[in-house]
Amino acid sequence: MAYDQKASAEVAKEAIAAKADLVNLIQEGYTAGIQEVGDLYQAKKLFLPHIMSAANAMNVGVNLLTPELEKAGKSAGEGLGKFLICTIEGDIHSIGKDIVAIMLKVAGFNVVNMGRDIPVKDIVAAVKNDKPKAVGTSALMTSTMVNQKTFEELLKEEGVRDKVITNIGGAPTTQQWCEEIGADVYSENATDCVNKMVAKVKG
């Protein structure tokens, strides 16, 4: 695999010029390609630079196609809704969260990656302002996972807890922790997150 951003852009431009089926190009081309990279990543055959390169190459092409699709009143993917994702306050680990963000985007979510060490109050503000379908927080330390609980409490205080699906992940977090703090979905890894969240939003 080449992860060639220039070639990715050229394919998108050619498809636009030829008035090709752009939705099909995204689903059968870009998405299929990065899903293969994702599978190889899960199998430990490819690594972080590969999946990030593949995501960057995909984004170059999809970003060219998206305005054309919007003009035609079409959606690039399954349109599963907006998904805010971040590493919780106090925690700077971002690699796993970024991979999850890529895989959620591939699955059809409109992903907003807020970054790392995001204050709980800022995540709540984003929930109120952006009205996402779901919000995912990652914590890689026992000392920062407690902020996932604070987040749940602040969502309730601000009256928006029932407006959003909350998803938690990160090495020390567990299903039991998810239930204890009242989060909606626990994800053990990127694939688990995609499977559970797609099922959750589709009901």
Binding site: F47, L48, P49, S94, S143, P172, T174, Q175
Partner: protein, 356 residues
């Protein structure tokens, strides 16, 4: 039908029939065979694991004669740390903690590490003189092999904590080659720091260096430790080195590194041990990561299958990491003794580890 108290990987208490436990043992082993490319456990070994899980006693142990060496990492933290770090919250000096481990808890090795300085290689450079003095003082009171311990923790070499660009941030911006270049610079600095720290502590009388949670920052972290051990052994051949890992699989953050022609990213314990041996490591500490959504039986069989192959392939003594979230033990700050003793017995009597 009789049911047995056991646990999920997140620590939840559950009751399972023997048949369910057997199913979980087989499924856990199958997963290890698939991901780690290791052989199946034998039917006799699976039966032994089943008996261990189903033992009605709360605490289990090995048969006389099967005792193994107990080495340590985390220094005095297990007493002085708070519960979030599996500590007991007992204030005591580093020397008192070392003596308690040696004389009351029967540990076969112990270590001194500066938890006030992040217990990590990079920040410890700044306090090396104080660390050397403490090591010299403590060695005068200790009998067991007494190491200096620290985490390599290559993450501290990247922004915002260190001088080099943050690789995941750079990759997200599409700067893949720059990210890899920054990693390589960080690796060079960490290798030099390991040699510096190791040599200085040997001068202060240390018996060696214990690397805790190696490869937590991925393949570059592991490679730096291997290179650092090489340099340390060249400078101070008497230095005994213990390399304990952070995860069962070396995460490919760089993705294209090799050590003496062997790929570093994506390798499992039996291949990690080979690289450690090539570098001159004396004791290797393999890790398996507990899956919190699976049962104790599943995690036990998964971990034993991976570690058994590591022990078989390795010419080095292997001291498997056993504790919170590793070795099949549930992911809890203070894991249940039932689980800790069962997984430990399985590692000794089925995986045949040299130590814990």
């Amino acid at each position: 039908m009789a049911e047995y108290l056991t646990y999920m990987g997140d620590g939840k208490r559950i009751f399972c029939t023997r048949e369910k436990i057997i199913d979980d043992l087989q499924a856990g082993m199958a997963e290890a065979v698939e991901v780690g490319n290791v052989p199946d456990l034998t039917s006799e070994e699976l039966a032994m694991l089943c008996d261990i899980v189903c033992d009605r006693n709360r605490i289990v142990s090995v048969e006389p004669g099967n005792e193994v060496v107990l080495s340590n990492d985390g220094a005095q933290n297990k007493f002085t740390g708070d519960s979030g770090s599996s500590g007991c919250g007992i204030e005591m000096s580093a020397l008192a903690a070392a003596q308690v481990h040696e004389r009351a808890l029967s540990m076969d090795t112990f270590e001194f590490g500066s938890l006030d300085n992040n217990y990590s290689v990079k920040p410890l450079k700044a306090v090396i003189a104080m660390q050397m003095q403490k090591m010299e003082d403590m060695q005068n009171s200790m009998i067991v092999p007494f190491f200096y311990g620290a985490m390599p923790n290559m993450g501290l070499y990247y922004e915002p904590d260190g001088p080099f660009g943050n690789p995941p941030d750079l990759m997200r911006e599409g700067k893949i080659e720059e990210a890899q270049s920054e990693m390589e610079k960080a690796m060079d600095m960490m290798t030099r720091d390991i040699e510096f720290m190791g040599v200085k502590m040997q001068e202060a009388g240390s018996d060696g260096f214990n690397f805790d949670t190696t490869a937590s920052a991925g393949d570059g972290d592991f490679l730096s430790v291997l290179r650092g051990v090489e340099l340390l052994k060249k400078a101070r051949p008497e230095a005994q080195t213990m390399v304990g890992m952070s995860s069962e699989n070396v995460i490919g953050i760089h993705g294209m590194l090799d050590y003496k022609g062997q790929d570093v990213a994506g390798i499992y314990p039996h291949d990690q041990a080979k690289l450690a041996e090539m570098a001159g490591v004396d004791v290797f500490g393999p890790v398996t990561n507990t899956k919190s959504g699976k049962s104790l039986a599943w995690n036990m069989a998964y971990s034993v299958a991976l570690i058994k192959e590591c022990e078989k392939k390795s010419n080095l003594p292997c001291h498997v990491n056993m504790g919170m979230g590793v070795g099949g033990i549930p992911m809890l700050e203070t894991p249940p003794a039932e689980a800790v003793t069962r997984c430990s017995k399985a590692m000794v009597e089925v995986a045949k580890v040299d130590g814990i």
